[in-house]
């Protein structure tokens, strides 16, 4: 303690003291104080103006409108949306619809993106050029244009219900009111049983994997973990299904005089899904290509000279290293897809932004609606990044 104090005193004595206004620390405090004051003044003037404007325009404030009955109908509602539902309920439907299109879009975009990314590295000239052409074209066109193309260009040529397309006999009807598919109705209880079976299967697969890893570490004998896990996860629910009497019923769509009734997938959803999938797939393809190219050829050669088979080389050496490069940008593409799903408002698929916009128009409470939008999208962003960061930590390189 004492020596510290004397030491600092000594350096004070030696160094010529700079003027206080040249001290970077004091300057830092000063700049920050100025920024905070300016910001506070800006926020205060915005808030006071907004309150004043809202009062003169007779617009209510607060989130009370969420309990008011919404007067509009929705073409897609995957959760219960009764006639007298509230605005809050409508927004909840919007959140579910956004998540549904985002999750399905992410699935297909990943699939298509990996295929095209690998195709861009193909030794086959035609395939490689096709994939390059796809990526270059799609990436240089606005997503909204592609969405319009699918919705107003392609899907508008679907026939009316009377002349529905029937690609699979009387099971599926395709017309300009949507895709009508058979509804799967399970006897009560079976779905829950299958879910429980699936959960048990996942737990068993984890146990098998741990056991197999221990055995391989001890004895060197490999065990087909992937196949076993797939068999368990698919097999156990199927077993429950068969044992419980296979009480499944397919309710086929019925074609009436003017319309088709049955489980309907609206064309807005199809168009949005097509646009989001094809657009994001082009970006994912580039990420996958960069990821695979980042694994040096020496890695493959070393793996082969160790005696690993080509499939083991790919599975144990190339893919794990490529994934490290792929995961972070892939995450931001997933987030982009989720955010881009808000273009639904342009074709009328009732997602969060569409329903929020309707609520905004009816109530005029723009501040609250925008706050809800931002809160929900930020939550989705944070949740997705958290999950992908967790996954990224698992695959990240372990350095000594």
């Amino acid at each position: 303690m004492a020596s510290d104090a004397s030491g600092s005193r000594r350096s004070d004595d030696l160094a010529p003291k700079a003027a206080f206004y040249n001290d970077p620390k004091i300057r830092g405090y000063f700049y920050q104080a100025v920024v905070v004051l300016l910001l506070a003044w800006g926020i205060w003037s915005i808030v006071s103006n907004t309150i004043e404007n809202l009062q003169t325009r007779n617009i209510a404030q607060g989130f009370g409108f969420l309990d008011v009955t919404a007067g509009f109908d929705l073409s897609v509602a995957l959760i219960d949306y009764p006639k007298n539902a509230t605005y809050g309920r409508a927004i909840l439907v919007g959140i579910v619809n956004t998540l549904v299109v985002a999750v399905i879009g992410i699935f297909f975009a990943t699939l298509l993106g990996f295929i095209i990314g690998v195709a861009r590295l193909s030794k086959n000239f035609v395939i490689q050029r096709l994939a390059t052409g796809y990526v270059e074209t799609i990436r240089n066109l606005p997503l909204l244009l592609q969405l319009f193309f699918w919705y107003f260009g392609v899907l508008s040529f679907l026939p009316n219900p009377r002349d529905s397309l029937k690609p699979m006999g009387e099971a599926i009807f395709i017309n300009n009111r949507g895709f009508f598919v058979p509804e799967i109705v399970l006897a009560p209880g079976i779905a829950q049983g299958m879910l429980i079976a699936a959960a048990i299967a996942v737990a068993a697969a984890v146990l098998v994997r741990n056991w197999a890893k221990r055995r391989q570490d001890l004895t060197g004998k490999p065990f087909p973990v992937g196949l076993t896990a797939a068999g368990l996860v698919l097999g156990l629910p199927l077993l429950v299904f068969v044992v419980s009497g296979a009480a499944i019923q397919l309710v086929y769509p019925v074609k009436g005089a003017f319309n088709v009734t049955g489980a309907r997938v609206v064309p807005e959803f199809i168009a949005l899904l097509l646009a989001l999938t094809s657009y994001t797939a082009a970006f994912i393809a580039e990420i996958v290509r960069a990821g695979i190219m980042a694994v040096s050829h020496g890695q493959t050669e070393a793996a082969r000279s160790l005696g690993l088979s080509p499939s083991h080389t790919l599975r144990l050496v190339v893919i794990p290293q490529a994934m490290r490069v792929i995961i972070p940008p892939l995450t931001s593409q997933y987030l982009n897809l989720t955010k881009n799903s808000s273009l639904a408002v342009a074709v009328g698929y009732p997602d969060l932004v569409y329903i929020g916009g309707t609520v905004l128009n009816q109530t005029g409470q723009s501040v609250e609606v925008v706050a809800i939008w931002m809160l929900i999208y930020l939550t989705i962003s944070v949740a997705t990044s958290a999950f992908m960061n967790w996954y990224n930590r698992r695959v990240a390189i372990v350095e000594r």
């Binding site: 920050q32 103006n49 907004t50 035609v126 395939i127 240089n140 925008v370 939008w373």
Partner: protein, 381 residues
């Protein structure tokens, strides 16, 4: 060590080299190329067939649509139904002015043309590295041109130019105004935010991080809706903010956050020695940044910056959703006109839009690749 002199006991010694024989016919030339790249194995050959099938399904219908079955002359939609399923080009000719200017008054369109000509006349020499006077050129483009363009487009009664309300603007004009404003505004804002995020002052760092993460976490549409509905509430009663200006503010704030992250990547890639060297020379913070760090950092992230520009250019289409008529919005608006109602009208319009957007975006990406090669001064190993 080795004895190179010829052993006299040897019966035969070749004195000169044989001339090389040509490689076997199957390993060179187009045949070999095809064998290697199209059919090196049965699987590869199958892939070639699949590829050719896809091309066959893709290319002929597009050519048929755009040229063979297309209608070239006509006055309304009915004329476009006759030739079959082909493009309706007279519709594009009829609407060409709207696609370029929107509803800008006919008598005043020379002003838009002047702005377009000025824009390209100033930008092209700026982009060609060999041409001299870059400083004056940049000053003219970034300093003088925006002012001239503003007065020409908006109008000024004192200069004898009638005011043209922005609700009459449309087409490519709006697309370029939104894109250029967004690009010009987002770069300096993004640089400031990136510097703020790497600042040692905790409050400034926190504010920058919050700003960047919030804007990057929400979709542009919500930002545009917000700008459209909330900005009028933020100003004093009686004042109003122009519709186009609202969208411009929203786009600029939004893209600044993305630009900030790109610039931050460049700042992080600069070795610490550069900062220390600059400080050891006694440069102030701003001199260090402007003279030493930013020139190197920005050069490193040119591809990222251009990608952000391309993204921004594509995103300008979203202003159509909040009621502005950019190129795509204008094309979409023609759906309401019954005169040109034909099955292929909209597809023709989308084809035009696709060509325009592709030209701009592809051009930008090519130019960035060119600049990247030119500016590569030994940072790559």
């Amino acid at each position: 060590m080795s004895d190179t002199s010829v052993d006299p006991n040897r019966a035969f010694v070749r004195a000169e080299m044989l001339t090389a024989r040509p490689a076997p016919g199957l390993t060179v030339g187009p045949i070999a190329w095809m064998r290697e790249n199209l059919a090196s194995s049965p699987g590869n050959f199958l892939l070639t067939l699949v590829g050719i099938l896809i091309l066959y399904k893709l290319i002929p219908p597009v050519i048929e649509f755009a040229f063979i079955k297309a209608t070239w002359t006509g006055t309304n939609g009915a004329d476009c139904r006759i030739a079959g399923f082909g493009a309706c080009w007279p519709y594009v000719v009829d609407y060409l002015d709207e696609f370029a200017y929107g509803r800008y008054p006919f008598a005043e369109r020379w002003r838009v043309n002047t702005v377009f000509v000025l824009f390209f006349a100033l930008m092209v020499p700026l982009m060609i590295p060999k041409l001299p006077h870059k400083g004056w050129n940049a000053l003219a483009f970034f300093g003088i041109f925006p002012v001239v363009a503003f007065f020409l487009l908006v109008g000024s009664p004192t200069l004898g130019l009638p005011i043209v309300e922005t609700r009459n603007w449309g087409g490519l004009l709006v697309t370029l105004v939104v894109a250029v404003t967004g690009i010009v505004a987002s770069l300096p804002m993004g640089i400031l935010l990136a510097l703020g995020r790497r600042s040692k002052m905790p409050i400034i760092r926190l504010l920058s991080v919050v700003y960047i993460e919030v804007w990057r976490g929400v979709p542009l549409i919500t930002v545009l809706f917000m700008a459209n509905t909330m900005l009028p509430l933020f100003v004093h009663e009686g004042q109003s903010i122009d519709n186009l200006l609202r969208a411009l503010i929203g786009v600029a704030f939004f893209s600044a956050a993305y630009m900030a992250e790109v610039v931050r990547g460049g700042l992080q890639a600069i070795p610490k020695g550069q900062y220390e060297g600059a400080m050891a020379l006694g440069l102030s913070y701003w001199k260090m940044m402007l003279l030493i760090i930013l020139p190197q950092a920005l050069k490193l992230v040119i591809p990222g910056i251009v990608n952000t520009f391309i993204g921004l250019f594509k995103d300008t289409t979203l202003v159509a959703i909040v009621g502005l008529f950019d190129l795509l919005g204008m094309i979409q608006a023609t759906r309401a006109n019954p005169v040109w109602a034909a099955p292929t009208t909209m597809l023709t319009g989308y084809l035009v839009a696709a060509i325009v957007y592709f030209t701009f975006c592809y051009g930008m990406s090519r130019y960035s690749q060119y600049m990247e090669r030119r500016l590569a001064t030994g940072h790559k190993r």
